[in-house]
């Protein structure tokens, strides 16, 4: 009887985690930060019944969320300790209770307290399967962010990226912290350049099964649709955050140009009428403008253009190779990859190309930056540890944290917020 029950639990867990168990390795690089982070106390949950956590206990998930968020700095303590919290200036702390239920589920009661008065500032209750504890805790943490900052946090967001599985580049998704990884593509050619559809309904990516680069849409259930088949070679997709419309590169002969197209109808029109090649489009947060890379000056440089394709202006002038620019969700800066002496590094600059800040240096190649939807963080790929892995850093380059391990992981793209409306 017991065995059957165990088997059932195992099957349930296997169903909940379709492709992979979570992976985790965290190496925190404490850089110099101009970020004002807020100390927050984190106390382990009281546990009723012996609970076997799938990956980490809730307070460790909260600690990671706090330290990755770019807003907080976790002050860990085994129990409530007002002296420690005061000394570290933690005016609030998070903790809770966890109860194991007879049906195998776990009940989490999560609280945000004011340290000095012990007033409850926020209380949330979740009853979930063991595998879903992470998601519940992430969700609670985003409510803490909203309670204290009035802004949405990114603990419930996800990343799509490319992972080499059995020597083949496959598109995978995971939580923003690298846990709960799931393989999305199965094709054995090349799968790359994943971006999130509007509303996180699925991904758009590039596949080489026809021995040329072609765009496909794919749902998280694995259902694929070829896109814009009127063109032979398509790649470099970018999703309009307002309409869901796509901008992408089309190669015909030697020329590569941007087109804008509707995924549903399949119709597409040329976006720009320039003599140069154009790749790597990126929409501004309100989709009023577009960044792209052009070689019209003889080397790849970043340009901006209005959404109607008029008023092209050059943004980057420093260096000979500036590519893959991405507009910050705040709208005030762009992040891009620059290559110097064969090495790739990540920079940000103001919209007129001034105020350049180098975020990475002396640590291998660093490329493919992508903004968190709250604009506080940047995920990117780096081979600083020997092979390519995904890292997260704050937008000023501090707090670099590796979130993947194993064989090569590249090309991260951050999801949109999962709830279009505000939390709470």
């Amino acid at each position: 009887m017991n065995k059957i029950k165990l088997l059932f639990v195992f099957v349930a867990m296997a169903l909940a985690a379709p492709a992979f168990a979570a992976i985790d390795t965290i190496a925190v690089d404490v850089g110099i930060s101009v970020f004002q982070t807020m100390p927050i106390g984190v106390v382990p949950f009281e546990e009723e019944g012996t609970i076997k956590w799938t990956n980490e206990a809730p307070h460790l998930i909260l600690t990671r969320d706090a330290n990755l968020s770019g807003r907080f700095e976790a002050v860990n303590s085994d129990k409530f300790d007002l002296v420690l919290f005061s000394k570290k200036r933690a005016r609030q702390y998070v903790t809770g209770t966890a109860t194991k239920l007879s049906n195998g589920k776990i009940k989490l009661d999560c609280y945000l307290y004011a340290a000095e008065t012990k007033d409850v500032l926020l209380g949330e209750s979740y009853t979930v399967k063991p595998y879903d504890v992470r998601q519940a805790v992430h969700s609670f943490f985003d409510k803490v962010v909203y309670r204290l900052f009035g802004e949405r946090g990114v603990a419930s967001t996800k990343l799509a990226y490319v992972s080499k599985i059995d020597g083949v580049k496959q598109v995978v998704i995971s939580d923003y912290d690298g846990f709960s990884r799931r393989q999305i593509t199965r094709d054995s050619s090349i799968n790359m350049m994943p971006v999130w559809q509007k509303g996180n309904k699925g991904l758009v990516y590039v596949n080489f099964r026809k021995q040329r680069p072609n765009l496909y849409a794919i749902t998280f259930g694995g259902k694929e649709t070829p896109l814009f088949t009127q063109f032979k070679q398509t790649f470099s997709p970018a999703v309009n955050p307002k309409t869901g419309e796509l901008l992408f590169s089309v190669t015909e002969g030697a020329k590569t140009e941007l087109y804008r197209g509707d995924m549903k109808t399949g119709s597409a029109q040329k976006f720009l009428h320039l003599k140069s090649n154009q790749v790597s489009p990126s929409w501004s947060p309100f989709a009023s403008e577009v960044l792209f890379t052009s070689d019209r000056g003889g080397s790849p440089q970043v340009y901006a253009v209005g959404k109607d394709g008029t008023d092209v202006r050059r943004i980057t002038y420093m260096g000979h190779y500036n590519e893959r620019a991405s507009w910050s969700p705040d709208g005030d800066r762009i992040v891009y990859t620059s290559m110097d002496d064969g090495k790739m590094n990540i920079y940000t600059c103001a919209l007129d190309g001034t105020d350049i800040i180098q975020l990475t240096s002396n640590a291998g190649n660093n490329e493919h930056p992508t903004w968190s939807p709250d604009g506080k963080l940047i995920a990117f790929a780096s081979d600083r540890g020997g092979n390519y892995q995904i890292y997260i850093m704050r937008k000023d380059g501090s707090g670099v944290t590796r979130i993947t391990n194993g064989s090569e992981n590249t090309s991260p793209t951050w999801s949109w917020f999962f709830d279009e409306k505000k939390v709470k």
Partner: protein
């Protein structure tokens, strides 16, 4: 790994070539000998019948051998084309003098063998972004395709595609590896 593969391919090409040569000689010799003999024997007798069937048999065999030799010859040509990668300078898509010489040889084969369908793959080295490298690979494959068309190869039999930096021939992060990976590669199929 890449070197071993290339050596293996080269070995195959040489072997096929040698085989093709040795097959072609005996094929051309017996035909004029046997062909005139057959109609000379016109009377109906057992010997003639036996000779006739023998002739039919050997003719079929010779035809098979001829086809086999032709197949081997085509394979050898295809292998020769597929071994000939065209190399480029860093971030460039212009043809070097070496590349033009090599392409002239390839074009010569293609002009004479009008059943070959050739896909020209453009590749780049590992430096730079995936996106930009696909556009660079496209420029390289197109330059090669256009050279071959200018030489007289039928444009309908030439397809150009880009793989960007996704399919390096040689692994490594030094100029030796990079220079081998900045290339246009040919894939050949036969139009039946």
């Amino acid at each position: 790994m890449g070197k071993v593969f290339k050596l293996a391919l080269m070995g195959t090409a040489v072997a096929l070539f040698a085989w093709g040569c040795s097959k072609e000689k005996p094929e051309t010799d017996p035909q004029p000998q046997t062909a005139p003999e057959a109609p000379a024997d016109s009377t109906l007798n057992l010997d003639a019948l036996v000779a006739d069937t023998l002739d039919a048999d050997s003719l079929a065999r010779l035809e098979a051998e001829r086809l086999e030799a032709e197949r081997a010859r085509l394979e050898e040509l295809i292998n020769r084309i597929m071994l000939e990668d065209v190399y480029f300078d860093y971030d460039r898509s212009e043809l070097t003098e070496n590349a033009k010489r090599l392409l002239a040889q390839v074009a010569e084969i293609l002009v004479n063998e009008n059943r070959f369908i050739v896909t020209v793959e453009g590749h780049t080295d590992a430096r730079g972004t995936e996106d930009y490298n696909i556009s660079l690979g496209a420029r390289r494959s197109t330059v090669v395709r256009e050279f071959l068309i200018a030489y007289g190869v039928d444009a309908n039999r030439l397809v150009s595609v880009s793989y960007g930096k996704e399919r390096p021939k040689v692994q490594g992060t030094d100029e030796t590896a990079y220079s081998k990976n900045r290339r246009a590669h040919f894939r050949v199929s036969i139009d039946q």
